[in-house]
């Protein structure tokens, strides 16, 4: 069955992130002047007091912690069959946060303590697009 959920459409600024996921690499940007990572992709450092354009892409660990989340009991379109499902903001070990789905875990508050360790799962949802999802860390 064809994939029937919203798909991202990369821009020139974000292409490397999406290309990296397709290779099963998590690629985000790091500022070479203040040494900090950031996300979402853009060709300049967003950190206050820095704002440098001297940035580069790096492959990061894919390890993260659960920052906050909801357990959606309603879903539309392709998500209708997934309920309940977890929409989470995770904090990468390198610092930045991203929105994702948690997989391979019970969608209950009891199974989802805030700050629990997570690891990335590369979900090849179509031939062109891989999404970064996360599951409880296995060690």
């Amino acid at each position: 069955m064809a994939y029937d959920k919203p798909l991202p459409e990369p821009t020139p600024e974000t292409q490397e992130f999406w290309d990296g996921l397709k290779r099963h690499e998590l690629r985000i940007q790091r500022c070479l002047d203040c040494d900090r990572f950031y996300f979402f992709p853009r060709p300049f450092c967003p950190h206050a007091g820095c704002r440098s354009g001297n940035v580069r892409w790096e492959t990061v660990s894919g390890r993260a912690k659960l920052h906050t989340y909801v357990i959606s009991h309603r879903g539309f379109g392709g998500f209708a069959d997934d309920v309940p499902y977890v929409i989470a903001v995770v904090e990468l070990d390198e610092g930045p946060r991203m929105l994702t789905n948690l997989v391979e875990v019970e969608p209950t508050p009891e199974a989802l303590p805030v700050d629990m360790p997570l690891e990335i799962v590369y979900d090849d949802v179509t031939a062109e697009v891989t999404l970064a999802k996360f599951r409880p860390a296995r060690g």
Partner: protein, 383 residues
């Protein structure tokens, strides 16, 4: 901080009105704008021919000009979500003071429930949200505006019972408002037993979805006493935006931009917390006024939930909040901010009927830009 005195008593709201509210499938979004505009102008004894400034969100000033067939010499189309109209009030005041216009009309109309004549909603798949949020099944504010709440609960120990109490407290006001959509009293248990939407949100943690409109007319101090209704003065304002996607809210435990806009409004008005005994805090969901109460500094960080749970905001309480019944129980068209302002005006005019706060002279209105993405604060007064 902005100058405290430059706008003091310089610009007033002299016309204010809402349309019929609720389920209105016989009216389009643009007609709700126009209907609200004409009612607000009539409230001030004016017509469209007197308007030379327009501010609106949800449509554009060009659409409003066309539909009303007028040609204003000042326009503002700031559209950053439900609190845009608070920003418009501040911008209109500056425009009037600068002489850009004399009579500013701020309009809201939304067929939020019936979806008549509404444009497309979501940002496209190449937007930041389209790439980094939509693929993960967020389906609108109930599943996204709610994202930070669990972090607040974790950080401060706030509880589902406390957030439920916000709905209970707000409903108490709605029982006093004959125009409110939901008027039957509810309990914390009722909220906790309502069906799950996106945990920790249940149905009664969520605002209504309705159709309706509202509009305001603003003029300068020199003309402010020439209208049928007593003027409601803009004393202080602040606005800020910080992000658009909820994912990129820097601190999930606090509403950082609201701290800034509250402080700006207080500084401009030369007032402090002890002066404010009426608050309108945009309540799209029960956690939103909790974050606002904390960020505006009426309680310490983390104490907002307990404050609502202790029922200090209810009829007879020390700090009445959302006296119309709020977005939770009164009405919520989608961009509710206009109705928050409207209740401040209604209370300051002494027209709030059974829910009227006696002797009220000041009111603070606060609303988000988008989903915690920014905020706007107004302080209004009748003296």
């Amino acid at each position: 901080m902005p100058s405290a005195s430059r706008l003091r008593r310089k610009v007033a709201i002299v016309g204010a009105a809402e349309t019929e509210l609720g389920v209105l499938p016989d009216r389009s979004m643009i007609q709700l704008h126009a209907e609200a505009a004409r009612l607000a102008l009539a409230d001030a004894g004016l017509t469209e021919d007197d308007v030379d400034g327009i501010a609106t969100a949800g449509t554009t000033p060009a659409d409003i000009s066309e539909y009303l067939h007028i040609s204003p010499r000042w326009v503002d189309g700031t559209a950053v979500g439900g609190g845009s109209f608070l920003m418009h009030v501040g911008h209109a005041a500056a425009a009037i003071e600068a002489g850009y216009c004399d009579t500013a009309l701020v309009t809201h109309g939304e067929s939020g429930r019936s979806r008549v004549g509404m444009g497309p909603g979501d940002a496209g798949p190449s937007s930041i949200q389209g790439q980094f949020e939509h693929p993960f099944g967020g389906w609108g504010p109930p599943s996204m505006f709610s994202i930070p709440q669990v972090r607040h609960m974790h950080h401060y120990g706030s509880t589902e019972e406390q957030f439920a109490a916000v709905a209970v407290a707000t409903r108490r006001w709605a029982t006093l408002n004959p125009r409110a959509m939901m008027r039957d009293p509810i309990s914390v248990e009722d909220v906790l037993n309502s069906r799950l939407i996106a945990w920790p949100l249940r149905l009664f943690n969520c605002c209504l979805v309705t159709d309706g409109g509202g509009a305001l007319v603003l003029v300068s101090e020199e003309r402010a006493h020439d209208f049928p209704k007593p003027p409601v003065w803009l004393l202080g304002r602040g606005e800020a935006t910080a992000h658009r996607s909820i994912t990129f809210m820097d601190d999930m435990t606090e509403w950082t931009p609201a701290k800034q806009t509250g402080a700006s409004a207080f500084a401009m008005a030369g007032l402090g917390h002890a002066d404010i005994r009426h608050l309108m805090l945009y309540d799209a969901f029960t956690h939103v006024p909790v974050y606002a109460l904390e960020a505006l500094g009426f309680v310490q960080p983390g104490e907002g939930g307990a404050y609502f749970a202790e029922m200090h905001t209810t009829p007879g309480g020390e700090l009445p909040v959302n006296t119309n019944g709020g977005g939770l129980s009164y009405t919520h068209t989608g961009m509710y901010g206009m109705f928050a302002i409207m209740e401040s005006v209604t209370q300051l005019r002494g027209e709030a009927g059974e829910r009227q706060l006696p002797g009220l002279e000041l009111s603070m209105t606060h609303a988000p830009a988008g989903m915690f993405s920014g905020t706007s604060t107004l302080i209004l007064g009748n003296q």
